[in-house]
C-alpha cells in the first residue's frame, strides 16, 4: 500500500498515554492537517513515524515498507520539527549542502530562491537566527528536499503574518507543480484550513476524526438566534457546543441540515474548521 500507514501504534510516557492504538493512513499526494490540542499526541505521532522515538507497540509503513531502522523508507520522509536539530554553528548554506547529501533530490537553486523570497541570509549560522527565521530555514529545507512525504510540525512558529501568508502561497505553488504528501501539524487552524485537504484530529492520543475537509465541513453547521429559539431547535440534534452572548446564542450542530425545518429567527451558516475543532476537542 502506498502512503504512510500507522498501525495500532501506542506510546506511553510513564502513566501518560501519548498514543493509544493509533491507526491512520496518510495517502499519497494530499495535504493533511494533523490537528489536536497541546499534548494531544501530534508530535509523538510524527516522531514515531520518523523513528525518532520508539513506539511501545504497532508499526509504521511507508509505501509498504516498515520504517523501523530502514534508511530506504526513512529517506522518503522529511520532517521539519518545532525544535532545531541542526548543529548550532552550521551556516544555512551548509545545511542546504548537507541536506543535498542525504536527500539527493534536494533542489539547491530552489532553496536559494526561497531564501531570497523570505529574505533569509544563507551565510548566517543556525544559532544566530530568530525563532521566525529558524522556522523559515527549516521550512525552506523541507520544501526543497522533494521528499515524497513532508511532515511539518508547527511550521509557522514565530513567523509574522506576511511570512505565514508567503509560506502558504509557496506551499500551494510547490504542491501544484510537484505533488507530494504534506502533513501539517499546527495550532493555527484557521490559517492552514485553506490549504488542508484532509483532516486528522487527535485527542488524548486517539484519532477522533479522519476525513476530508469537505466531508467534515458538510457534516456540521452553525445556527444563530435567540437563546430560547436555539435551545428549542437544538433539543433533538447532535449539539457539539454553543456560545452565548447576551440573549443571542450560537449552536454548533453535527448533522445534515433540513432547511425546511429551520424556524424563523435562526440564521444558518457553515461551520469553520477551527470552530469545529474547538467543539470536537473541548468536550
Amino acid at each position: 500500500m502506498s502512503g504512510i500507514e500507522v498501525r495500532n501504534t501506542s506510546k506511553n510516557y510513564g502513566s501518560v498515554h501519548a498514543l493509544k492504538a493509533v491507526s491512520v493512513h496518510f495517502e499519497e499526494n494530499k495535504i493533511y492537517g494533523l490537528l489536536g490540542r497541546n499534548g494531544a499526541g501530534k508530535s509523538t505521532l510524527l516522531n514515531a513515524i520518523t523513528g525518532r522515538i520508539f513506539a511501545d507497540s504497532g508499526e509504521v509503513l511507508v509505501d509498504g515498507e516498515a520504517t523501523l531502522e530502514n534508511d530506504h523508507a526513512l529517506g522518503k520522509i522529511y520532517m521539519m520539527s518545532e525544535k532545531n536539530y541542526y548543529p548550532e554553528g552550521m551556516k544555512i548554506r551548509d545545511v542546504f549542502k548537507w541536506t543535498k547529501e542525504f536527500y539527493p533530490d534536494f533542489d539547491t537553486s530552489y532553496a536559494n530562491k526561497l531564501a531570497e523570497r523570505f529574505e533569509l541570509n544563507t551565510d548566517k549560522k543556525v544559532r544566530t537566527l530568530s525563532t521566525g527565521y529558524s522556522s523559515i530555514f527549516k521550512l525552506i529545507t523541507a520544501l526543497s528536499t522533494n521528499a515524497r512525504y513532508i511532515l511539518l510540525d508547527e511550521p509557522v512558529l514565530g513567523l509574522d503574518a506576511n511570512h505565514r501568508d508567503l509560506f502558504y502561497r509557496i506551499l500551494i505553488e510547490k504542491y501544484s507543480e510537484n505533488p507530494c504528501t504534506v502533513i501539517i501539524s499546527t495550532h493555527l487552524i484557521e490559517e492552514a484550513a485553506g490549504v488542508i485537504e484532509h483532516v486528522v484530529i487527535i485527542k488524548d492520543g486517539q484519532v477522533i476524526k479522519d476525513e476530508s475537509r469537505e466531508e467534515l465541513m458538510s457534516k456540521g453547521y452553525t445556527a444563530t438566534g435567540a437563546a430560547s429559539v436555539i435551545d428549542k431547535f437544538t433539543a433533538d440534534k447532535n449539539l457539539l457546543g454553543a456560545d452565548s452572548l447576551g440573549g443571542l446564542k450560537t449552536a454548533y450542530i453535527l448533522g445534515t441540515l433540513d432547511r425546511a425545518a429551520v424556524p424563523d429567527g435562526i440564521e444558518i451558516s457553515k461551520m469553520d474548521l477551527q470552530r469545529l475543532f474547538i467543539q470536537l476537542t473541548n468536550a
Binding site: N47, R52, D71, L74, G75, Y85, Y103
Partner: protein
C-alpha cells in the same frame, strides 16, 4: 549509499578540530626547537620541554596528546551528530556504522601524521646534540626498542598507537552515549559517584580491608595486558586495546540502538 554520506558528514566535521590540534602541536614543536636553538641546547643548557627516564632534554611521547585529543573527540561524537543525522532520515545503524568507520579513518590518519612528526622530529633533534625526540611507543616499550630494528620499531609503534587511539576514542564515545541515555539524576550519580568510588573508595578498601591486594592485582593485570610480563611485548598491548575497542564499540551500539531524539 547512506552509510557513505554518514561517513562523509562525520569525517568532515572532524577535519577542523584535527587541523586545530595539529596546528597547536606544530606551534609547540616550533617553539621548542626555537628554544633549543636560542639556548644552544646540546652544549650544556637545560631547557626541558618534556622529561622522562630517557636522559637529556627533548620531546617525549607527544602522541599522548593525540590519544587524549581523540578521547575528547569520542566524548563529543554523539548528541549533535545523532540529531543532525536522524533529522536527515538516517537509521541508528547507519549512524553507528558511519561513526565506527570514521573512528578507524581518523585514528589511522592521525597515526600517520604522528609518525611523520616523529620521524621529522628525530631528524631535527639529531642537529641538537644531547636532545631527543622519543615516541610514545618507545617510551612505553623501551626494552623492545633496544631489541628490535628501526623499521620493526616504526611498524610496531604505528600499530600500537593505532590500537591505543581506537580504544580511547571508543571509550569516549561510549561514555557520551551512556550519559545521553541517562536521566538527570543518573547523570549526576554516575558523573560524581564513579570517579569518587574509583579514586577514593577503591583505594580506601584496598588500604584498610584488602591490604594492597586490589592494587597489586590491578598492576599485574595491566602488566600482563600490555605485555610487560613477557619482556615488553607490544602485541599484548595491541590485542588489549583492540579488545577494549571491541567491547566499547559493542556497548556503544547496545546503548544507542534504543536512543531517542531528545529536545
Amino acid at each position: 549509499m547512506k552509510t557513505k554520506s554518514s561517513i562523509k558528514y562525520q569525517l568532515s566535521d572532524m577535519k577542523r578540530p584535527v587541523a586545530i590540534f595539529y596546528f597547536i602541536m606544530f606551534c609547540i614543536l616550533v617553539l621548542g626547537f626555537t628554544v633549543f636553538k636560542l639556548n644552544n641546547v646540546g652544549v650544556g643548557s637545560s631547557v626541558i620541554i618534556s622529561s622522562s627516564s630517557i636522559s637529556g632534554t627533548g620531546f617525549t611521547g607527544m602522541e599522548a596528546g593525540s590519544a587524549i585529543f581523540l578521547f575528547v573527540c569520542g566524548l563529543n561524537s554523539f548528541k549533535e551528530f545523532f540529531r543532525m543525522l536522524t533529522q536527515n532520515g538516517l537509521s541508528r545503524k547507519t549512524i553507528y556504522t558511519g561513526r565506527i568507520i570514521t573512528f578507524l579513518a581518523v585514528c589511522a590518519g592521525m597515526v600517520v601524521i604522528d609518525k611523520i612528526i616523529l620521524v621529522v622530529g628525530k631528524l631535527i633533534t639529531s642537529y641538537f646534540p644531547g636532545t631527543h625526540f622519543v615516541g610514545l611507543f618507545e617510551l612505553i616499550y623501551a626494552g623492545r626498542a633496544d631489541q628490535a630494528g628501526a623499521v620493526q620499531m616504526h611498524i610496531d609503534g604505528f600499530l600500537f598507537n593505532f590500537c591505543l587511539y581506537l580504544a580511547l576514542i571508543t571509550i569516549g564515545y561510549f561514555i557520551t552515549i551512556a550519559f545521553y541515555r541517562m536521566n538527570k539524576i543518573a547523570k549526576i550519580s554516575v558523573g560524581i559517584g564513579v570517579p569518587m568510588i574509583l579514586l577514593y573508595g577503591v583505594s580506601f578498601l584496598d588500604t584498610f580491608l584488602f591490604h594492597g591486594v586490589i592494587g597489586n592485582t590491578l598492576l599485574n593485570t595491566l602488566s600482563f595486558a600490555f605485555g610487560f610480563k613477557n619482556g615488553a611485548n607490544p602485541y599484548f598491548g595491541m590485542v588489549t586495546c583492540l579488545l577494549i575497542f571491541g567491547i566499547f564499540a559493542g556497548l556503544s551500539w547496545l546503548t544507542m540502538r534504543k536512543a531517542v531524539v531528545k529536545d
